[in-house]
Amino acid sequence: MNWFQRLMRREEMDHQLDKELRFHIDQRTSELIERGSPPEAAYRQALIEFGGVEAAKEKCRDARGTGWLEDFLRDLRYALRSMRKRPGFAAVALITLALGTGATTLMFSLVNGVLLKPLPYAEPNRLLQLQEKTEKATQYGNLWAFTNPNYLDLKQELRTLDLIALTFDGGTVSAAGQSEYVDGYEISHDALSILGVSPIRGRSFSAADDHVGAAPIAVISYALWQRLFSGAENIIGQQITFDGRGYSVIGVAPPGFHFEGNSGLLGIGPDILLPLGQDASPVMQRRDRHILQVWAHMRPGVTLSQARAELDAIGHRLAQEYPASNEGRTFIADPLQPDVDGVRSTLWLLLGAVALVLLIACVNVASLLLARAISRGRELAIRVALGAGPGRIIRQCLTESSVLAVGGGILGIAIAVLGLRPFLALWPGGLPRVDQVQIDWRVLLFTLGVSLFCGFLFGLAPVARIPLGRLEQSLRSGGRTVIGTSRLLHSGFVVSEIAFTVVLLVSAGVLGRTLLRLASLDPGVNTRNVLVARMAISPTTLKNPASTRAAWDQILSNIRSVPGVRAAAAVDTVPMREGNNQIAYWTTPTPPPQDQLPLVLANSVTPDYLKVMGIPLRRGRFISEHDQLKTEGVVVIDDVLAQKAFPGEEPIGKPIWIDLGKNPMTVVGVVGHVRQFGLAGDDDAKVRAQLYYPFAQVPDKFVRRWSELMSVAVRTSVKPASILPSIREAVRGSSGDQVIYLVRTLDQLARNSIAPERFLLVLFGIFAGLALLLASVGVYGVLSYLTNQRISELAVRIALGSSASGVIRLILKESFQMVALGIAIGAAGAWAADRVLMRMVEGAQPGGPLTFALMITVLAASALLASFVPARRASRVDPLTALRSE
């Protein structure tokens, strides 16, 4: 029987114990009777010889080894009973704790899923990310993607690593009469098996599929299977067309499968997987085209340093063999990490904020418990007098507080479970790794730990008040006047609550100010009624540059003919959307050395772009229809570039060289700066200067590549959404396979660009509001209690002639001292929090004295209001009644 069974079968065991001892005594009695004792005397004799029967039973029970548990269960029952007896107290404490732990659990489940969980592959800690590295850095840095020949050489020679290669490109997929634009990934045939991912239908690629000329096959994503085929079971063997080629489907990847940190062009990861080895395009043969992302899995027993050493050795060999492309080039490996840098600081920030709320909640409950412990002083004193050891009493107090804490924790988990999905849906721009966010055992363990820790924290407060030393005093006073140290403790609670709240309030204030400033910034474009979308141009038009250019003209003129459209243009990088094109420029015929070339954001546009975007023209002219391949190369620059490249000079007519096109180009106009990186991000961006050049002057050899990346921008006179269907129809083209995707309005993009800040503000606002509420309740509770404790003193004061306002002043003064101290401490904390926010939030502005003053005033006002109620009550005390009850 293990201890658990022994515990559960307590009654049965007690019964058996009775029987066993009775047998012993009966046996002894009958033996004595046989020897001639009268039965009565024999029985008494037997009992005397045995010694205390009850004591023996008690010792036997102890010998079972479940005494501590039985005590615990008794404490538990006692705690539950006392909670039932005071449902108001229990409810307030539980709700307070549930809010605190609920918010903390929710935030931790995000931190856990996004930051802490390992990657969803087999042996994630043996996966590496490989890059090519050059000795000399260009303006783009010194890390490169892999070339296919380098990858193939490595794959063949490496003994320490298994390599995975992937590359992606967008394309139109059509099957079953539907078409849409998706990301297609070419992957090495063993990529899925190395990652430990198996298709949920069909099979993955094999080495036999992985060469040019093999039968064209594809694995599709679970999502695409659902969208195009409605999850039909007969998917294997179905034909699909991707980017103009036919493939037969051999497998379906598991739901949510993706390559970590690589979300493709569309941001939703691979919808189509193809064998890399089937790619026959010429770039696959070139040792100077860096197109592949390479991962590796360390073979069993291999360490990272061994792998690095081998990569280095092969890198040196290839550098000697192919000096033209590989000189000074090595290969480096780093552990594969989730790509979550963008949200790491935000998540920790929010977890910190909820931790503060939780602390305030704990302090509140602690002060409630303390008040109760003091009113229970007499009860505790009696128990000590009856022989309960201090350890036993402390254990009981801690059991009670743990019951509260765990109860609050369970409610908190319920809140987190209910709130998690809605909360994630609100996360601006989608959270990376969001599929990993769940309330799993780690989260539950965390919550349990936090709850017990909290229970311990606020359980200690009453323990500190156990009247161990001054038993007799405590008994005599009925626990009413022993309040010396508890006053200090209670004031400590108020001070710390106020301090935590100041930190949260000021942080919310700082964020609010930041958001106000950001929202009032001019994005540099007129965001009203502008639609932008990426354009998938028909593969048939890409055959030669002339037909491509003609197709673009056709698309734009088709869009212009849609009623409600005022202007339409093509552009490669849209402001405030992801993606930009940074190229080097110089303004003297001989360029400065490679690594000193300045960068500019280059936009290739059609003439109507200025009109569509509403960018102000400062001087000169914008690109016009007359700027063609045969005419002089022209660029239009923005204020920032004008200032940087031609400080104090007239830029119009000046030559400028860029890494592209016909050089030199002539500056023909200056326009206003556009916040390419969004309202929040632009000020801190490394490269801000902008330059526009005509799409018509893009050299023929680049036209195809450019066309795959271009977007259309449309200014409308009506709500853009209302004419979106007509625009979709207008661009479809003669072969009907042209689509627009990633459709956004400029308004949306502008709003989204400050969405993270807005989101943070909303959350901090909620947390700060919660903190303010909790702190006010706490201040109210503590002050009511303290005032109650000194009611007889106040009664004497009133009896001696103190006025009501005098009493109120007295109480408020006391409260004011605590609040002032809390604010002073909190202000120091808030100053620190301010620094942290500056570092972590894009575009944040220091709080400044105004924010501090405003937020502190709000807090002080609510704290004093909370104190006023008990103060007023005290001033109305009838001295006779108060004194008599003492």
């Binding site: 012993h24 023996a56 010792k59 010998a63």
Partner: protein
């Protein structure tokens, strides 16, 4: 003269004695007290009430196992029996007890010699 010059049992000795008594055959609590007194010629006088906590402790530690059986008089009693683990424990404890008493005897003798 008091009939029983009771000797106080050193710590842990009661356990050893119980194991030894039960090793011969299964016994109930009352019989164990009887046997203890008989074989020790009434020198070891165990307070009857303290026998049972010891029995339960040994049962808990898995050195004894118990079952309810009828006695000769037809009443149900709880009989204790030595487990394999209990037997091993008995052996090792006996050995260490013997070493201890031997050593103590030696020391006592030494003192006598020294006094000479």
């Amino acid at each position: 003269m008091p009939t029983n010059p009771k000797s106080d049992l050193p710590q842990g000795t009661l356990d050893l004695l119980i194991l030894k008594v039960v090793a011969l055959r299964p016994l109930h609590g009352y019989a164990i007290t009887q046997r203890l007194q008989q074989v020790s010629r009434d020198v070891v006088q165990v307070q009857q009430g303290s026998l049972y906590p010891a029995l339960h402790r040994l049962e808990n530690r898995g050195l004894l196992t118990a079952e309810w059986r009828d006695t000769e008089t037809g009443r149900e009693a709880k009989f204790y029996r030595l487990t394999r683990k209990g037997r091993a424990q008995l052996q090792s404890e006996t050995a260490s007890w013997e070493r201890l008493t031997e050593a103590v005897t030696l020391v006592l003798k030494l003192r006598e010699e020294g006094a000479k």
